[in-house]
């Protein structure tokens, strides 16, 4: 393939702005896939992705397009994850591209995430083609969208392509623009091999399949390769391209996008961002930008049925095969038994893993409240990173604690600015900037503790702005913060699974909400049960679950005995599904409910 006839591009879009549908149209138009084969949205192949309308794992597809100038082009579409949790993966996908379609919903306009990804794209010097999608909708306002593209992004509104991925309008214009407005890949095919891994997946028959873009040099079937970060070497058994099914080939040169199979057993051998080079003639330095997967959010996951611990381990290990960013280690809780402390890229990643464990592996799980990673500075100068409230140090060894902050960019209609600023304030936000993007759209920038975003920030943001505000955030670093460990005591005994690390000013409110909620959920017992929230030895909130007053069967004669016995035995079964904490029986829901506390 001649390098000048290759175009590598991605699509940047907010959720629901039509990225996958547009990709489908491009596939259809270029004949990569027939209409009949389409189950709609070919790129999002995971069930969950389709249901949630988001892309979790990046994918790639090779389109062959005969342009109006009669030349044939190879267009590699690299799909990017569409969520802030996966911003590192996004950045690696963008590096593999030379241009991007910026898709904006004609009715919704530009959203925070679109901008965040666009800035990333511009940082990597990508050529941008703005596409205004869904122009066929009655609510479409392409002029407003054009204006926003000009005002907010600074692109020439004349360059915008009006399209409807649903009807196919504008598809040819887009393909022509890709050919003419995106630069061909650079990179010398004679240099030693350097290929960027932008995704990988595990296939139970073939091992790990790594997706890459050759930046320099070439890769051939049978060649010995080396992963520059992990330093592992493999022999290539197959390379190929996506059409969209994997189609083997002999050689891929600089600028091309493809896959490699090389008896790799584990996705951790082929981490996103790593550089593939030749084992015989290695490049001197790796491609820039690699960083190992860094979990930002942790939670404990425990099987409801304690005997399912082994199954949970197996399931996690299977998921890990496909997901290098998932980390986990065994954990025990006196309340919940044996389970795992799991680390995720973010909240969505956590939800996805939980959902897959429950749906694909049939596990019934209790997850503890998500926690960020705190840096604990001890008086002896040591620094511990902790995510589990159980590891919170006693105060006499504690010097100070740092928690992760993010820079949050919120784009919203100006009418909601006041209420959203209040929200950011409540969430311990530090105001950084406010900018009128257009006469009616505002960009708010706050530094916020990541833990607050984990709580319920996003839900609140959406509800208080009636769904109009959009959020993007990036990690800023750890900052010192006045944090305490909030414990919950049932009948005077602490329940480890209900402990949380919170800001001192939030401890009272949260303690009160938690105790109230637990009072509501925990059924009355035979004894009065005090529910207390404490910080250190100080009780900051208290509720009392009154003792059960009356539960008596009036009659039990000959005909009732069997029925009554079975009823009591059923209660015994129900008891097994309760967690016995000391003398208190706590239903599983209690552990779930504390996650859904609304502040």
């Amino acid at each position: 393939m001649i390098q000048t006839n290759i175009r590598n591009f991605c699509i940047i879009a907010h959720i629901d702005h039509g990225k996958s549908t547009l990709a489908d149209r491009l596939l259809e138009y270029t004949g990569a896939i027939s209409e009949r084969e389409m189950t709609t949205q070919v790129l999002d192949s995971m069930d969950l992705e389709r249901e949630r309308g988001i892309t979790i794992k990046a994918q790639a597809v090779r389109l062959e397009y005969k342009a109006k100038d009669n030349s044939k082009y190879v267009l590699n579409l690299i799909d990017t994850p569409g969520h802030v949790d996966f911003s590192y993966e996004v950045s690696r996908s963008l590096v593999a591209c030379d241009g991007a379609l910026l898709v904006v919903d004609a009715a919704q306009g530009v959203e925070a995430q679109t901008i965040a990804n666009l800035y990333l794209a511009l940082e990597h010097n990508l050529d941008i083609i703005p596409v205004i999608n869904k122009v066929d909708l009655p609510s479409a306002d392409p002029e407003r969208a054009k204006n926003e593209i000009k005002e907010i992004i600074g692109l020439d509104p004349g360059e915008c392509i009006l399209a409807s991925a649903k009807t196919g309008l504008g598809t040819e214009d887009i393909l022509e623009a890709i050919v003419h407005r995106i630069k061909p890949p650079a990179g010398d095919a004679r240099l030693p091999l350097r290929a960027l891994i932008f995704d990988s997946l595990f296939d139970s028959y073939r091992g790990v399949i790594a997706y890459f873009r050759v930046m320099e040099g070439k890769i051939t079937a049978g060649q010995k390769i080396r992963m520059m970060a992990s330093q592992k070497e493999f022999e290539v058994t197959e390379i190929g391209t996506f059409r969209p099914v994997m189609t083997p080939t002999n050689e891929l040169i600089a600028g091309e996008v493809g896959y490699v199979i090389a008896s790799m057993k584990n996705v951790t051998d082929t981490q996103v961002g790593d550089t593939i080079t030749s084992a015989e003639n290695p490049a001197l330095i790796a491609l820039p930008g690699y960083r190992p997967a860094q979990p930002m959010v942790y939670c404990g996951m425990f099987p409801v049925d304690n005997t399912a611990y082994g199954e949970l381990r197996e399931a996690l290990e299977k998921l890990k095969l496909n997901d290098a960013s998932l980390v986990f280690e065994p954990e025990t809780s006196s309340a919940l038994g044996f389970g795992f402390r799991c680390g995720f890229l973010g909240l969505l990643h956590m939800e996805i893993i939980q959902e897959r464990l429950e749906r694909e592996y049939g596990l019934n799980l209790i997850a503890t409240a998500p926690s960020v990673v705190y840096k604990v500075h001890l008086t002896d100068g040591k620094i511990n990173e902790i995510s589990n409230p159980a590891d919170f140090p006693v105060s006499n060894y504690l010097d100070y604690i740092e928690e992760p902050y993010v820079k949050a960019s919120i784009i919203l209609p100006n009418e909601f600015v006041g209420t959203i600023m209040d929200l950011c304030q409540e969430k311990r936000g530090v105001f950084k900037n406010m900018e009128y993007l257009t006469a009616v759209r505002v960009l708010l920038v706050y530094d916020l503790p990541l833990s607050e975003i984990l709580m319920d920030f996003f839900d609140k943001l959406k509800s208080r702005s009636r769904g109009y505000a959009s959020l993007d955030y990036e990690y800023l670093g750890h900052r010192e913060s006045d944090l305490v460990k909030l414990d919950i005591l049932l009948n005077e005994k602490p329940v480890d699974a209900l402990s949380a690390i919170v800001h001192r000013e939030k401890a009272y409110q949260r303690g009160r909400l938690l105790t109230e909620k637990l009072k509501e959920i925990i059924p009355r017992q035979m004894f009065e049960v005090p529910v207390q929230a404490t910080v250190g030895t100080k009780v900051i909130a208290r509720e009392t679950i009154k003792a059960l007053r009356k539960d008596v069967l009036a009659k039990c004669y000959g005909g009732d005995i069997s029925r009554k016995r079975k009823l009591l035995e059923k209660q015994k079964e129900g008891k097994k599904r309760m967690k016995q904490l000391g003398t208190v029986e706590v239903p599983q829901e209690a552990f779930l409910a504390v996650l859904r506390i609304e502040e």
């Binding site: 035979m526 004894f527 059960l548 007053r549 009356k550 539960d551 008596v552 069967l553 009036a554 009659k555 039990c556 004669y557 000959g558 005909g559 005995i561 069997s562 009554k564 016995r565 009591l568 035995e569 209660q571 015994k572 008891k575 003398t583």
Partner: protein, 380 residues
């Protein structure tokens, strides 16, 4: 194995079904009553091989047995006394509704050998009685009670219910006062159970009527336990009180795990480690017996472990409690050891007590007896 046996006859017909009742009983099927008596006689004949057993007690329950013509009730009793060993001291009870019985009936019943009446009164306030669908007034009860005394019934029990819709603590106190003034030998004071499928359940779910708040019902129950003991009635079971020597022999049999045969539609029997229950529908019951087919609808083996669980469940209903040594001798299980973890907290909370080698509920524990029993048997 006990040589003694109790017999229960079920009469699933009522003039009108009370709104709270979920028993196997029907109104509007009066035309079936003669056939039903024949069916009962046919069923008891199956048990003639058991006729060598001593009959300790006989109980005619319902439904409303007194709704049947007296001669048919007597016919059944005669059949039993003729074919089984029924000692003169055997307790023979008839459940009676004050609205379905008169003085002639009482004379005949007494002469035929019925020596105990169990009268369903429920409350002494007519508006409360109407609200739950009772067919009689308080006055009808007083009249029948007096007549029963005059005709020679020296053992009379009265059934009462608290927690009725519209009932206040004061109503209940008045009911207990009036009834103890009349002075039956036995009082059953039941806490109303709202059962799914009943008219009352429907009314409550539609908010047409409302039940007294839990706290008030608790007060009623606490009052009952104190008041009736003061008036000379010993609480010998969660809901049952008797003057000395007048505990219900028949019902004690259930709680002590003795064998019994139940005859009639829906009646249950327990005998030699087996439990079975008859078809509930009186029509099917009659038809099967006409054809000579079994009327057993369900059957269950009561193995030793099940028997042990029932012994705990029933034994704790009794104020006499569970004798731990006898329990150990019978089931080879040390109840204290086996339930130790929960027992301690129950003892500390004063819900249960162990005295003289006997485990029993405290008065406080009676109020939450279901939960306590469930907790204990979960260890078994």
């Amino acid at each position: 194995m006990s040589k003694e046996l109790s017999l229960y006859f079920h009469f699933p017909f009522c003039k009108r079904k009370c709104y709270y009742c979920d028993f196997n009983s029907f109104s509007g099927f009066d035309q079936l009553m003669p056939d039903y008596i024949h069916a009962l006689l046919a069923e008891i004949k199956f048990y003639l091989p058991q006729s060598g057993k001593m009959i300790k007690s006989i109980y005619f329950g319902g439904g409303t047995p007194s709704y049947f013509p007296v001669n048919s009730l007597i016919e059944i009793l005669k059949f039993v006394t003729t074919h089984f060993l029924v000692p003169g001291k055997a307790e023979i009870t008839l459940e009676a509704n004050p609205g379905t019985i008169n003085v002639e009936d009482l004379i005949q019943l007494q002469e035929a050998g019925f020596n105990r009446l169990s009268i369903g009164l429920q409350a002494t306030q007519n508006d409360l009685l109407r609200r739950i669908g009772r067919i009689h007034s308080a006055q009808e009860f007083y009249d029948i009670f007096e007549l029963a005394r005059e005709t020679g019934f020296q053992n009379i029990g009265v059934d009462l219910i608290f927690g009725l819709p519209g009932q206040k603590l004061e109503h209940w106190q008045n009911t207990l006062h009036s009834v103890t003034e009349v002075g039956p030998e036995h009082i059953s004071a039941y806490c109303l159970q709202l059962e799914p499928g009943t008219r009352l359940h429907h009314q409550v779910s539609l908010k047409e009527v409302s039940l007294p708040p839990e706290e008030e019902v608790v007060e009623m129950m606490e009052f009952t336990m104190v008041y009736l003991q003061e008036r000379g009635y010993e609480q010998y079971e969660i809901s049952n009180y008797a003057k000395t020597g007048y505990k219900s022999v028949h019902n004690l049999g259930y709680w002590l795990g003795h064998d019994y045969l139940g005859l009639g539609a829906g009646a249950a029997s327990t005998r030699l480690g087996q439990r079975w229950a008859n078809i509930k529908d009186p029509k099917d019951y009659i038809e099967n017996l006409k054809k000579g087919i079994s009327v057993v609808a369900e059957r269950e083996s009561i193995d030793k472990h099940t028997a042990m669980i029932e012994a705990v469940m029933l034994g704790l209903r009794l104020r006499s409690g569970i004798n731990l040594q006898r329990f150990y001798d019978k089931y080879a299980v040390d109840l204290i050891l086996k339930t130790q973890k929960d027992l301690e907290s129950l003892l500390n909370a004063d819900l249960i007590e162990i005295n003289d080698g006997t485990l029993r509920l405290t008065y406080k524990g009676i109020l939450t007896s279901n939960k306590i029993i469930a907790t204990l048997i979960a260890n078994l």
